[in-house]
């Protein structure tokens, strides 16, 4: 299996995908899917299977609307804007199912836990404590490898707003890590 292309080469692969190059889907899926899966896993802490389903839906939708990618534009914001929408649809669907289930006592908010001073919580668990907008930004930046401008494009926002969200998220995470450290014996 050939190694996935670099992020810079993805724009070219997307243009080839539009031209029905049979090598393009493999190149794009191989390069983008890991980041997408992490994106879904960090949002609402979905299970592995749910994340796989969302990944599938994202690629189906990408395939369906592939003509809306304009060659020369960065491909990652285009992909993540679609993934973001798939996540929202998935969340609504899950919520509809949940309201029909018997309500039980709500579990407590997940909090990242340290096993000891030398271990850190998983990234997914760590960012789960952030508000949705901040979590989304941090995940796109850290797990998706998007730049500030690309995150702004993917979220229909401005670079300034993305910087502000990232700054607040980092501040909160740092405070949280410190609190957890203080609680350790």
């Amino acid at each position: 299996m050939a190694p996935p292309p670099s992020i810079a080469a993805l724009d070219g692969w997307m243009a080839r995908y539009q031209q029905a190059d049979p090598e393009a889907p493999a190149a794009l899926i191989g390069a983008i899917s890991p980041g997408l899966l992490r994106f879904f896993r960090t949002q609402d802490l979905v299970s592995r299977q749910q994340a796989d389903d969302l990944l599938q839906e994202t690629w189906l939708r990408i395939h369906r609307v592939r003509h809306t990618y304009r060659p020369g534009q960065p491909v990652l914001p285009w992909v993540y804007a679609i993934a973001r929408r798939v996540r929202v649809d998935g969340y609504r669907r899950t919520r509809r199912i949940r309201v029909h289930e018997i309500a039980t006592e709500m579990p407590p908010e997940p909090r990242p836990r340290f096993e000891n001073r030398n271990s850190l919580p998983a990234f997914e668990t760590l960012v789960a404590v952030l508000p949705e907008a901040q979590r989304e930004v941090v995940t796109m930046l850290k797990a998706g490898g998007l730049s500030l401008e690309e995150v702004a494009r993917a979220t229909s926002s401005t670079v300034g707003a993305v910087k502000q969200k990232a700054s607040r998220a980092y501040e909160r995470l740092r405070r949280l890590l410190q609190e957890e450290n203080n609680e350790l014996p």
Partner: protein
Amino acid sequence: MNCRDVERSLIEHENSGAACLPAQVHKHVSTCERCGEFMRALNPSIIAGAPAPEILRRLEDTLIAKLRPVRPLAPARYFFAAFAVIFILIVAAGAYRRGAAGISAMSPGQSITMLCALSASAGLLVYSLVHQMAPGSQHWISPTRLPAAVIGLLALLMAGLFHFLPERDYWGSGLACLRAGGPFALLAGATFWLLLRRGAGLSPRVTGTAAGLLAGLVTTSAQEIYCPILDVSHILTWHLGVALMGAVLGLAAGFAAEAKPLATRFAGAMGLKGAWRN
């Protein structure tokens, strides 16, 4: 250099990698335990959970089987021009059919201000809609806030430009004005929808609201040209009210579109759902 500076530097050098951080940051991180831990916690290398290779392979096979060449969406400026031409043509048709008594009744200052404000509002909405058609486009103005801002600013402008005047038949003249202008909004809405469906509006509610408001503004613009009534209550209710109604109808249409998840429809139409899973 303190811990806050490290955070700031991290944001400024986002995506350029830890190696590109200034030497001062590295020096601080090497001596500060908390910053070191913070940097490690955010390090993508500790993020686990890559997709299973067999899942990716099945997904690739499915997409390759359905692969057909597609023509990329036309550049944004073409769509911008198309929206603008439709807007102008329908307003011109309204003026041709109903006359320009409104322009004659208004002072030159009122005419110029109103027409400029309506054109600017329409331009901003078209800009927003054109960018919503292609996911991941750069938005300088938030598409969710724009419709509310346009309606609010137009209402303020109209309230400032016009005064309360005695009107003999408020409801009769208002409904006549609405009946005369309504069809233009419907025509504009249908034409805008034909253009919009070429793109991929990811948020039907937001796109529907903006498109409905734009269609309503076609009627508002035509009414400003042909309607000679200058009473502010008439203008706010029966002229701007049409634009507001268009936005509400567009929002309702967006809600209806979102009620049935798009992904399910796509997958069902393509016969792909579940095709690659065990």
